[in-house]
């Protein structure tokens, strides 16, 4: 465990790890089809369900794995309190950008790697401008909107007042059932 703590605190190790994590992530996103404009826009038009299949598979595997890692002390929960003002409004603004651009913050970088210049010139530069604008407005938004309408709980088990593993079992069954339904419907 001391090696793990040392690795987390080493700046240079983290830079190399970040790059390697990104490379694997980009590779998997591209192989999974999620760096393609048509695939992402197709998901939002509900004609192509590749993005949802990819995301739900990641969550199905990760949810159990994370809980085991946390149980044995290898990982910490970073789940934080959310609000209507931050998560719902921000999420809807994000969604509008998602549809206009046809990529999300990770897949826009992946699309650049496959040669998409609209992702580079439009998407990445737009994101830099958008992030900068948010930094400008942050002091005002922070006190007025971002903290308004806090959610009643941090995690789903806390919200439902149920045992963590019971919630995981139900969510896993729901996600797997949904994917089976998609396949059954031929989507």
């Amino acid at each position: 465990m001391t090696t793990l703590a040392a690795m987390r605190e080493s700046g240079s190790a983290q830079i190399v790890l970040g790059l390697l994590t990104g490379i694997l992530f980009g590779f998997l996103l591209q192989k999974g089809g999620a760096t393609d404009y048509g695939v992402i826009e197709g998901q939002l038009l509900l004609t192509n369900f590749t993005v949802l299949k990819l995301m739900l598979s990641a969550v199905i595997v990760g949810m159990v794995l994370f809980q085991l890692l946390k149980h044995y002390g290898y990982a910490n929960s970073h789940a934080a309190h959310g609000t209507l003002g931050s998560n719902v409004i921000g999420g809807l603004i994000f969604g509008a950008g998602f549809a206009l651009l046809g990529y999300c913050p990770g897949t826009v970088a992946g699309a650049v790697g496959t040669g998409a210049l609209d992702a580079l010139i439009g998407g990445m530069i737009g994101m830099l401008i958008g992030a900068g604008l948010f930094a400008d407005f942050y002091p005002v938004l922070k006190t007025r909107i971002l903290t308004s309408g806090p959610f009643p709980a941090v995690t789903v088990p806390e919200f439902l007042k149920l045992n963590t593993w019971v919630v995981i079992l139900v969510l896993e069954a729901g996600m797997i059932g949904f994917l089976l339904l998609l396949e059954y419907a031929g989507l």
Binding site: R8, L17, G18, L20, G22, I23, L24, F25, G26, F27, L28, Q30, G32, T35, Y37, L45, T50, K53, S57, A58, L65, Y74, H78, N87, V88, G90, G91, L92, F94, A96, G97, L100, L101, G102, C104, G106, G110, V112, G113, T114, G115, A116, L117, D118, G122, G123, G126, M127, L128, I129, G130, G132, A135, L141, K142, F151, A153, V154, V156, L179
Partner: protein, 175 residues
């Protein structure tokens, strides 16, 4: 033996499972959720430091998210390299200005596509920071951690995305 690396695509279930494992690895090795929008704040802050270091250092947001080259920053160059390797190995890398689906409805003008993509990118960057994360940070890593806020955020990403995509392709596109 390594033939799978040159395949054009993998089943989204396999690639997705890999992303699930990778997201957990990030939480173990970096003690951070695997997100992509923080890197854009850091990059924008670094550009700001070049233009006006004093002004940038004073801004509250860059005190919370420090503009520096670190784990979160390196994710984006990593993704570009990883996606390039994947598409190059399978022979699908190609330089394109206008995606095929866009072109089939809105024509081949690169200028129109870039203007709309830029507007989308601005909203995406602004919205991601407003919501405190993106499709991977909230949608995958947050959901993995059973975060209520992350699952609600991911639902809003898709609700807003589906509404605007339908408006774009099913209303404006057919005019």
């Amino acid at each position: 033996m390594f033939g799978f690396l040159t395949e054009t695509s993998w089943s989204p279930y396999i690639a997705g499972a890999g992303i699930g494992v990778l997201s957990c690895l990030a939480l173990v090795l970096a003690d951070r959720p695997l997100g992509c929008s923080t890197a854009f704040v850091k990059a924008r802050g670094l550009i700001g430091m070049l233009i006006s270091a004093d002004r940038t250092k004073k801004m509250e947001y860059y005190q919370d998210i420090v503009p520096q080259v670190d784990w979160a920053f390196m994710i984006i160059p990593g993704i570009i390299i990883g996606a390039f390797l994947s598409s190059f190995l399978s022979g699908t890398f190609h330089v394109v200005w206008v995606p095929a689906l866009w072109g089939s409805v809105f024509g081949g003008s690169a200028v129109l596509r870039i203007v709309v993509a830029l507007a989308g990118g601005i909203l995406l960057g602004f919205g991601a920071r407003w919501a405190g994360g993106c499709t991977s940070g909230h949608g995958i890593s947050g959901s993995i951690q059973l975060s209520l806020a992350s699952m609600i955020t991911a639902a809003c990403f898709f609700a807003g995305g589906i509404a605007v995509a339908m408006l774009l392709y099913r209303v404006i596109g057919v005019l």
